[in-house]
């Protein structure tokens, strides 16, 4: 009788342990599946004898963030004596040093902005492909008063494959883009910015690269600083003439092209405690 009871309890223990393993496995797998798709992973790694914390973009397989754990990513010597132009070259040096991680070359950078706020410089770049900017690409970092770059943030596309010539002419592309806007003439729309870009489109497991004519249209009404009217961005595929992006634009301050922006003096920006 005792033996039977012991066997019974052993069986129960066995079943419960099997069930626990099954439940744990299920939880593990369900977490993997539901964990926000495309959520980047972060890891501590050693790169050329340097300890780095890297957050990867699971789709592009390029780093989103790199931080130096025990040391800076780069230190610029005689920083206080460097000119603005020399400071903006830091990006090239940084990319050269971490090229195999970033998977792009220093010649693929185009300066986006460089501003000094208090004692810190903030520098950012676009990634280019054969001279064309990749839409929404970036590499940026700050340089402290000692010339140290401790981390960088990036959205890079390591293996761009985009057409290098257009099959559709510029005029034709403009017409296609204009047709997307209802009441284009009545609204007296103006083409305020245009460019040829590489437009990366993220798919489930891959990225498609379009060489596009990118247009920003704004109705005349939007040009008034007090107006709340926005504009439109239209991207036309330079190979097929298809519209690959059409969206409404919010107004940047002052309307409508950021290049017109004049930075305020740093003194105005300093917090007054």
């Amino acid at each position: 009788m005792k033996l039977l009871a012991s066997r019974d309890s052993q069986r129960k223990k066995f079943i419960s342990s099997i069930l626990s393993i099954l439940i744990c496995t299920l939880i593990l797998f369900s977490n993997q599946g539901s964990g926000s798709p495309g959520k980047p992973d972060e890891e501590i790694t050693r790169y050329k004898n340097q300890k780095l914390s890297i957050k990867w973009d699971p789709l592009t397989k390029a780093p989103l963030i790199i931080r130096g754990v025990e040391s800076s990513l780069l230190e610029l010597e005689n920083f206080s004596k460097l000119s603005r132009k020399e400071i903006t070259h830091a990006g090239r040096r940084l990319v050269s040093k971490y090229q195999s991680l970033l998977q792009i070359g220093p010649d693929q950078l185009k300066l986006k902005g460089a501003e000094k706020i208090s004692d810190t410089w903030y520098v950012s770049y676009w990634q280019t492909f054969r001279g064309m900017i990749l839409y929404e690409s970036s590499l940026g970092f700050s340089i402290d008063s000692q010339g140290r770059i401790k981390s960088l943030g990036a959205l890079l596309y390591p293996s761009v494959q985009a057409p290098v010539t257009s099959k559709i002419g510029h005029e034709e592309a403009v017409k296609i883009a204009q047709k997307q806007i209802k009441d284009f003439k009545e609204l007296k729309c103006r083409l305020l910015a245009e460019s040829v870009l590489v437009y990366p489109v993220k798919k489930t497991n891959s990225i498609g690269y379009y060489r596009v004519y990118a247009f920003n249209f704004f109705p005349e009404e939007a040009l008034h600083p007090a107006s709340t009217v926005g504009g439109w961005a239209v991207f036309v595929d330079s190979q097929t003439g298809k519209v690959v992006l059409f969206e409404t634009l919010l107004k940047p301050l002052g309307c409508c092209v950021p290049e017109d922006w004049v930075p305020p003096k740093p003194e105005e920006m300093k917090p007054k405690w």
């Binding site: 980047p40 902005g113 501003e115 590499l139 981390s151 919010l250 107004k251 940047p252 002052g254 917090p271």
Partner: protein, 174 residues
Amino acid sequence: MVNSKSSKLFFLVLSIFFVTIACKEKGKQFVLPKLGSAAIDFTCHDLKGQTWSLDKIKGKVVLLRFWTDWCPHCRYEMPVIQNYYRKLNKEGFVVLAVNVKQSPQVAEAFTAQFDVTFPVLVDLDGKLAQKYGVHTIPTNFLIDRQGIVREICIGDLFKDKTFMQSLLNYFSEK
């Protein structure tokens, strides 16, 4: 005769109906909340996957800021906001920086450059911005501890002395 009159009336009513709808739609897009009104509550995820709502942080002073990475003002002001946040966070100052209509990766790469430690919310479809009537980037809202909209600033936050003074008043009182 009667037919002609009634058809005219019908078209008149129809026109009024469509004009009203059109006005409503236009109004719906860009109406900023009124100063002194209760801030519209929302639920939005940040870059770390955490969910935020105004209700959750009631009792704090909130700077609700709508930004994008293509806006130079946003770039320029980000480190300054971070300074304020670092200084005032312990006294109940919360910054909710809402990235409008950009991918989380774009927002993440941008904020990493500035070592931002406040929550960066992702408004992928721009619906939250629309809810707040945002038509220009950047737009800032100061929401007090009771959840009331106290100041609105479109553009350079640190040039708006009234906004900044109101913000600092909540903390200098202590």
